[in-house]
Amino acid sequence: MNSSEGKLKSSSSELDLDRPNIEDYLPSGSSIQEPHGKLRLRDLLDISPALTEAAGAIVDDSFTRCFKSNPPEPWNWNVYLFPLWCCGVVFRYLILFPMRALVLTIGWIIFLSCFIPVHFLLKGNDNLRKKMERALVELICSFFVASWTGVVKYHGPRPSMRPKQVFVANHTSMIDFIILEQMTAFAVIMQKHPGWVGLLQSTILESVGCIWFNRSEAKDREIVTRKLREHSQGADNNPLLIFPEGTCVNNQYSVMFKKGAFELGCTVCPIAIKYNKIFVDAFWNSRKQSFTMHLLQLMTSWAVVCDVWYLEPQNLRPGETPIEFAERDIISVRAGLKKVPWDGYLKYSRPSPKHRERKQQSFAESVLRGLELEEK
């Protein structure tokens, strides 16, 4: 996974264009006290507003809150409940888990014994091959969902598949993709992962038409935007699924949606996903766990229960910018998520100096004003 230590660098200016004015959301107006009238020594020495803001950010900040795991409340805290909980643990690990692993293994055997022949033997007959591969990918995803005893309730009419249409959803874990994929074979845009996940990505997911990106590559953005556009225009391609947050968030908050999905000139169909925390906290904290550990955790929990809402397709309104389009609240309202105005990529990079400079500029101007007043 991406290492966070020692690789932080200032985000490029391209990311700046993505953002609405963060100052609208940060707590106080200007963090630096602006002196009024005559400038005194006190005005220059009193740095308490800036210090207070800094201390406030140290004590609690809206960005870190988005990535806080929220395990369910421990209920095994007394003499009667503890043995019950122990029985539960035994049941989950020694009975449920082997059964689920078995189900998953069977699923993989079936899948591979069908997929490999279809992939190689039907090389000539592309249409049929694509249809079968799509059905097989949906199948293996259903097996995955079964292996966590996934109870997924789909709401709302699923929009009919048309060209020039993209789907966007909030992102909590890579299992979001699997849950959606079991119903419809989407083509998804994903970060390329190492290990067995990467292997699956390059072989099987390739067949449904996935697009890879690399967060750390600066030029990557242009290439990806081009690929997105090409894919969405193609009539034959699987419908495109995009997670505009760009990173996994803990299903209680949602970070800013990147505008990439909203400037393709397509209809955007929002999908909201909300997991029921009572059964398991489905948030994949990629800084704390590998995906394998995350799956094992799911497979040793009671169930993964979630709601999926297919929401009304949206189009760009006349006079609306893609950023404003991306900022529309539809998914977070439906899934009960609190919106936070930070770019999800700040997990991997530092904020641009632009914000600090704005504060510096307003203070500098008031100091200069005070100076001018003196000279009059």
Binding site: L8, L41, P49, L51, T52, Q360, A364
Partner: protein, 171 residues
């Protein structure tokens, strides 16, 4: 990290409990563990900078010299100046420490110039900064060569109703 408050003993709480209530200390401990990602028992400068709201603050670099490598006890001590129960004297002492980067108890013209530079960035020239600072210093009865000590700061800032408080969220 699991139930972090169980790792904090009553003895630990009493050791650091000067200006914060019991629940606030528990909250601060959870926050400390959240910031201390590699679990080493102290928070590095990098880990503080991973909080975007902190990183965009103009004084962040200056504060990092005070914050780098703090353990939990030092972390609470650092934040105690921002508690509503801290006295004005303690708050002014904190501000003094921020200015007095070499810790010798004296704040020089250059120290003040440096902080002013942090706050104004590239939007004022160095010359204008010097000009402004010299002017207000002289009006207050000091000179460019004056070395300000703690009592000077108390005199200058004490009367102005210093507001420097942070609320610790208690779940």
């Amino acid at each position: 990290m699991g139930n972090t408050s169980s790792m904090l003993t009553q003895y630990d709480i009493e050791e650091v409990q000067q200006h914060f209530s019991q629940q606030e200390i528990v909250s601060l401990y959870e926050r400390f563990c959240q910031l201390d990602r590699n679990g080493g028992g102290f928070v590095s400068g990098e880990e503080f900078l991973s909080v975007p709201e902190f990183a965009v603050n103009p004084l962040s670099q200056r504060l990092l010299t005070m914050l780098d490598g703090l353990n939990f006890k030092e972390f609470v001590a650092f934040l105690s100046a921002f508690s509503p129960r801290a006295t004005v004297q303690q708050k002014i002492e904190f501000i003094f420490k921020v200015y007095d980067s070499d810790g010798n108890g004296k704040v020089t013209f250059n120290d003040m110039l440096d902080v002013l530079h942090d706050l104004t960035g590239q939007f004022i020239s160095e010359q204008q900064r010097e000009q402004v600072l010299t002017k207000v210093l002289e009006e207050a009865g000091y000179t460019k060569e004056s070395l300000l000590v703690m009592s000077d700061f108390v005199k200058i800032l004490g009367s102005s109703g210093l507001k420097m408080e942070v609320e610790v969220p208690v779940d």
